[in-house]
Symmetry: C2
DNA sequence: CTATTTTATTTCGAATTCGAAATAAAATCA
DNA sequence: TGATTTTATTTCGAATTCGAAATAAAATAG
């Protein structure tokens, strides 16, 4: 192997999936980044901005903007940590919870249709191969 | 399988690779999009804006901006097609050619280091699996 | 205990990105 | 042919994104 065809195919696959998700979440008035932030909070519960950043893979300056948007829409609250005043904890509001419980199952169902083109064995294999090249 | 872990891993891997490439091409004063456009022209030769768009996977309005930047830097020329005046053909200038022949091999070498964590067989398998979920 | 370094986050300005509307030329239709 | 539709591309304004600098609090060092 001496070309970058794999990268082309990887980028193209990611583009297809993320466009599809983006289209869905845009109907909720959310960007993909915003949705991923909500998703992290929905599954892992309240966390600091830095923790959230490590989950959603966007620059810290961008994340400030994103969480500000989400707070303005009333989906999350951001409060300073009592013990470490540098930290600000993000958590879903009732409205954010409600949004995600309305929407998340449909999101999974829709994306699973695509992923189910693979057998369980193939899907695990794909995960394994992606992890190998995705580290660092 | 009933979760979206695969998508998380896919996005994370793509993020890692694209950040790495981005970092390299930023040193040349190029964005990832600009570099991908140059790459397409370098390998497939002159083509219309629409053809280029199908290769680089960015919105048409964004591509207008990108090729304008590249033209301003002197890496490409954009000329109207004589036969179909709607079309505008993009092609590398001598300077653009020179840039890519200086830089492309290093780019491949660097990315191959990462991809070579996989055997040839695994890499072909990864391509196969990604194509399955990447269609549409 | 003060000074320095590290960690957490935001602000700022600039670059990039997008969708929708606009423009213009080619193709098709009636 | 003239009218309409389709195709190719750009322009516009707004949203998102980033990197670098700024801010502020905690941790560490001397």
């Amino acid at each position: 192997m001496n070309d970058l065809k794999t990268i082309t195919i990887l980028f193209r696959a990611t583009n297809t999936l993320s466009n599809d998700i983006q289209q869905q979440v845009n109907e909720l008035g959310l960007s993909l980044s915003s949705f991923m932030a909500l998703e992290a909070l929905y599954h892992k519960g309240a966390m600091s901005v830095a923790s959230l950043q490590s989950k959603v893979l966007i620059a810290n300056s961008s994340l400030s903007y994103v969480i500000d948007q989400l707070a303005q829409k009333g989906y999350i609250t951001i409060i300073s940590d009592t013990h470490d005043k540098r930290k600000r904890m993000c958590s879903l509001t009732a409205s954010g919870q409600e949004l995600m419980s309305d929407v998340y199952e449909k999101h999974v169902a829709r994306q699973r249709i695509r992923l189910n083109r693979l057998t369980d064995h193939e899907e695990l294999l794909l995960q394994h191969l992606l992890k190998k090249i995705g580290l660092d």
